[in-house]
Every structure is written in C-alpha cells, then in structure tokens.
C-alpha cells in the first residue's frame, strides 16, 4: 500500500476521492455486465410462463420439477458427468506424468514440448473438433463417447499440466533427493514425498479441468453429434430449435454446480500454496 505523502496531499486527496468514486462506479458497471446474463437466467428459471419472456409472469418451481424428472435432462447430465470424469481422469494422470517429466527430467527439446502441450489452449475448438472428427471417422470410431472423451482430454490437458507443474515447482527437489539418499527409489520417493505434497494442487487442477469439461460445447457437438448429448448440447438444441424454458432451470443448476466446484478449486489452490511457503 502506498505511503502517505506530505504537502500537496490535501488538494490531491479531494480530487482523488471524486476520481475514486468514478472508478468504483466503473467497476460496478463492469461487474454487473459480467454477471448479467447469469442473473437473468437464474431469474428466468423461476418464471412460471411458458415462453422466453421478460418480465416474468409469476414465480414457480415447475421448471425444476421438469428438469429432475425429464429423462432428456437427466440423461444429458449423466453424459456430461461421465465425459467429465473420464477425460479429467485421463488428463490428470497424463498431466501429472508430463509435468513430472518436464520439471524433474528437463528433456532437451523442453520448449518445443511445452509449446506442443499448450497448443490446444490456443487452437479454436472448432478446428480441434473438425480435425479429430475426420481422423476418427477414418479409423472407424467416428462420433461416439470415446471420441468425445478424447476430445475433452486434449482440450483439458494443458490446464492440468500447467497447474500441476506449478505445484511441482513449489515442491523442493531436494526433498526427493534426500529421500533417495535414504534408500527410496524414484517411484517410492514420488509416492511418499512428492505426491502427498502436491496433492492439493492436483485436485484443484482436476476440478478446474472438470469445470471446463462440463462447460465445453463445440468439440462435444462435433464429436458427439446425436450420439453423445451433454447438457450444453441439450441447452443449445433447445435454444436453436424449440425453446423450452426448462433450460433456464437446467442452466441455473449447471451454473450452481460449476460455481461450487470453482470455489472449492480456488480454496484448494490457495491452501496448496500455503503449504509450500
């Protein structure tokens, strides 16, 4: 925090104060902007009217009832969950291995491999989906659950690698070396020393990855089509073709779940960084 300065402070502070009011208003407008669509959707989910409208006709929970009973939505939720679990599992395991390999055994073409791993972040989802679709069609797998899981794993891998790499950097290498001098081979040292220490980082990475997988649309759309319908695809279909206000309820629950997961992941990350210091 800046120190107090002396003489001209009087003049500066009054203009500073009115200036800072402007800043606060600006910030609030921005925050409102950022959260507006979510709030509206939550609002709409309690709307009793049948069509997409504003202002809402009345309060009702009917869309929530429909959501939990209609197999279309429960099915989509299940699919989302399954895809998320499998792809995050794969991305976390591969990501931990990759992070460890990169951090502890600096390979010669480190920069190249690093760039390669980070590439799905910057590649458009539509390109990833498109490219994978062709190849998967060629090898005969085509549009299916495994395809979607592969797509999600690729999409999410950079995140897990980055988060776990940073957790690994916080874990002093000398701990492993001392463990080895005491007789532990690399796997034993990893299992008993490194893993427990970076575990919160791994979990938080996995949670972030899970959130990203749940939210993902375009890759799932291209690789799943009608075979694998996740929640975002279900909502999209409804938006495009037959608007069913249930999707407001679906969306609200969806946002609620991802928010919880996000907050959990953030807390875990904060805690894992405290352990290291």
């Amino acid at each position: 925090m800046p120190k107090e300065s002396n003489a001209p402070s009087a003049a500066r502070s009054s203009s500073h104060r009115s200036g800072s009011v402007l800043w606060i208003v600006f910030a609030f407008v921005m925050y409102a902007f950022l959260i507006a669509p979510i709030i509206i959707v939550i609002f709409m989910s309690f709307n009793s009217a049948l069509y997409l409208s504003f202002p809402p006709a009345g309060l009702s929970l009917r869309w929530y009832e429909k959501l939990f009973s209609d197999p279309i939505y429960t099915d989509a939720s299940l699919k989302s969950f399954l895809v998320g679990c499998f792809s995050v599992l794969a991305a976390t395991v591969f990501g931990t291995m990759a992070a460890y390999g990169l951090q502890r055994y600096r390979p010669k073409c480190f920069n190249l491999i690093n760039a390669l791993i980070l590439s799905p972040l910057i590649l458009p989802g539509i390109l990833i989906g498109l490219a994978l679709l062709y190849t998967l069609n060629t090898v005969g797998i085509g549009r299916s659950m495994p395809s979607v899981i592969l797509g999600h794993t690729l999409y999410v891998l950079p995140f897990t690698v980055v988060i776990i790499s940073s957790a690994l950097q916080g874990c002093d290498r000398r701990l492993e070396e001392v463990a080895m001098s005491l007789g532990a081979n690399e796997w034993y040292a990893f299992r008993t020393i490194t893993l427990p220490i970076i575990f919160p980082g791994i979990i938080s990475g996995a949670l972030f990855a899970f959130i990203l997988s749940l939210d993902e649309f375009i890759i799932t759309f291209l690789l799943g089509g009608v075979h694998v319908v996740t929640l975002p695809i279900r909502i999209f279909a409804s938006l495009r073709f037959a608007v069913d206000p249930t999707i407001a309820a679906v969306s609200t629950v969806f946002v609620f779940v991802t928010t919880l997961l996000f907050l959990l992941a953030v807390r875990l990350r904060a805690r894992s960084q405290k352990v290291e210091s």
């Binding site: 701990l175 070396e177 001392v178 001098s181 005491l182």
Partner: protein, 363 residues
C-alpha cells in the same frame, strides 16, 4: 563405515567445467572437508559421490567397489543439506524413520533405532512435532538423525551448518565432530568457511575452479601451503611475487619482489625446484612489529601504520611499506612483558620476519 576414493573424476555441465580430473582417497572413519569458494565444484563433488549426478569422466569407489552406475538409493549414504529438506508433511519420528521404512524393518526395531538416533542428537521427546514447529538448530539435528539412523557407510554434509547463526554453528560443529567420532563415520563435509574446516577436519581438500589445490591436514595447509590460493584462502597471508636473484650455498634464496623489496627465504621452505619467478607468502603472525630499528636483519622494512583493527585477543595492523604495498601484521594484545600494546595509526614502525617463516609456493 567405508573408505571412499575417486579417480580422475570430472563433471561438465554443458560447456561449464565443474570438476576437472580430481583424484583422492579418504580413509575409513576420516572427517574430510571440501573447502573452497562458491563455484569451485565442492557441491558437485558431493552430489557425484551421492549418486545424484553422473560423472562425465572418472570413477568413484566405495570400499574398493566402483559405484558409478549405482543409483543413489543403493549407495547407503547419509545426506544432510543446507536447508535440511525435512519432509514437511511428516512428523520428526516419521522423518527419521523414513530410511528404515524403505528398508522394510519391523515397527519395533524402527521405534528402537529412531529413539536411539534422536537421543544421540538430543532431540528425544520431539517425535510428534512437525518440522515447521522446530527451530533451525532442532531441524538440523533432526536431519542429522535421519541421516545417521540408517547406519550409512559415508556421511555427506552439504553446507549443513550454513543456515545457523554463529553461536549455534560453533556448538553444532563440536556436537557433529563428537558424533562422528562416536560412530566412527567416514564423513565428507562441504563448506566455504575455512575456520569451520580447520576446526573440524582430519584432512581438508581445497578446491578451486574444479581442481584440487591441496589435500592435507589443517596444520599442513596452514603452515605449509603449496599454492598461493591455499595460502590466501586459509588464514591471512602477505603475498609477494618475486624474481630470484641469488641462491646461496647455505640454502638462502635472495629475491626481489615486484614492488622492489628484497626478500630472503630458505630452500627448506620451498616446495618446488627453483625457477626464476616465485611467489613468497608470509603469515601475519610471523611478522614482528618493532618501534625502533633493530640491528641488521633479513627481511627488514620500515613503514607507517595505516590501520589497526582490534579483534579482542589480537589486533590486525596494516603497515604501509611503499605506495602500493601494505603488510598485514597480527599482534597479540598483550606483549611478552604483559604490557598492553597500543599501536596507533600514523606510528612509524619496523617490521621483520625470519627467512624460515616465509613459504615459497606455486602461483
């Protein structure tokens, strides 16, 4: 308990030469210190011995067996590093027991040996604490216990006392030495602190830029340094570069230093065969400081005191002889007669030393 030897050991990191053709033998139960400035290769040497790095060249022998290809977890060595590297998620007990658990020892024996080790380092009762709850000295002792409980063949200390404050460090030096004696542990200790090295070691290896300058007992290193580097790194030294003028039959060498001083030394003090250019080294405590000009002596120079630095039991006096040459003299605070010495800046004095007290070394 094992002997350690290295033969033509060399290590490069890319184009950087960390160690260059080092060969030594360390006896069983010996306490050897690797001494040198930062970057001299001492830590690299330790890591090579521990198996944490692979040598570019050369071989390492433990009790006569080559261990180049043996991974660190089969070398049976104890390692203590500067920041202790205690496992933060384990208690003191678990930390110390770690090496024993890896070796699949029974719970009873583990308990017994951990208790024994903690007693030795005077940490009994701290079993349930976590590293973050320990003070610096306690962490150090815990790291030590962890290393010795596995009954290692060699104990490796990498600047292990570096993080402690002066008083604690001196205490630990004594404790460590006692422990090493009791266990008859071959120990390799890395430090840049020459006082620590002189105080604790049976022998010292002085390293500079990856090469061994000298390997000998503290006494040898101090009184008979072989190179200029060793002479100035260990203790203080006055260094003269000189050209030989005459070698007399009685062994006296007359030389003229670069700054024009006439020096006399003896062949007995010389290490090498005579060459024209030599380096002469004189320890400050070997120089006498006199108020009046004595009768003719060798190595007699007149000068003016430029500074007096008081050190409690002695004073370091800087005497300016010529414009560029300053001589460091160490004077005890109390002279033979019991009178307290009172040198002051600006005093005119005479300094001298006997030819036998100078050493001729390699540059």
């Amino acid at each position: 308990m094992a002997s350690l030897a290295v033969e033509s050991l060399a290590k490069n990191f890319g184009s950087v030469v960390a160690l260059d053709n080092v060969s030594l033998e360390i006896k069983t139960g010996e306490f050897v210190t690797l001494l040198g400035p930062s970057g001299c290769g001492k830590t690299t040497f330790l890591r090579l011995v521990a198996g944490l790095e692979r040598p570019t060249n050369g071989r390492i022998y433990l009790d006569g067996e080559c261990i180049n290809d043996i991974p660190p977890y089969r070398c049976e060595m104890g390692l203590v590093v500067q920041n202790y590297a205690l496992f933060p998620h384990m208690t003191v007990f678990d930390n110390v027991a770690y090496g024993l658990k890896v070796r699949r020892l029974g719970a009873e024996e583990i308990g017994r040996r951990v208790g024994e080790a903690l007693d030795r380092v005077r940490l009994a009762g701290f079993e349930k604490r976590f590293p973050r709850q320990l003070s610096g000295g306690q962490q150090q002792r815990c790291a030590l216990a962890r290393a010795i409980v596995i009954r290692p063949r060699v104990l490796l200390l990498d600047e292990a006392l570096g993080a402690l404050d002066k008083k604690l460090r001196e205490e630990m030096q004594v404790e460590l030495k006692q422990l090493q004696r009791q266990l008859h542990l071959t120990t390799l200790h890395v430090t840049h602190d020459q006082e620590e090295a002189l105080g604790m070691s049976d022998r010292i290896v002085v390293l500079n830029h990856g090469s061994v300058e000298q390997f000998g007992t503290p006494l040898e290193l101090y009184n008979h340094p072989k190179t200029e580097f060793v002479a100035s790194f260990i203790g203080d030294a006055n260094v003269f570069r000189a050209k030989v003028e005459k070698v007399a039959a009685d062994g006296m060498i007359r030389a003229r230093s670069e700054d024009g001083l006439d020096l006399v030394c003896t062949i007995a003090g010389a290490v090498l065969s005579l060459q024209n250019q030599i380096v002469v080294v004189v320890r400050p405590e070997r120089i006498s400081l006199l108020d009046t000009r004595p009768e003719e002596k060798e190595n007699l120079f007149e000068g003016r005191i430029e500074a007096v630095v008081y050190h409690g039991n002695a004073a370091k006096v800087v005497v300016g002889i010529t414009n560029e040459r300053r001589i460091l003299v160490l004077e005890p605070s109390f002279s033979e007669i019991g009178r307290q010495s009172s040198r002051q800046s600006g005093d005119q004095v005479w300094i001298t030393w006997s030819p036998g007290d100078a050493r001729v070394v390699r540059p």
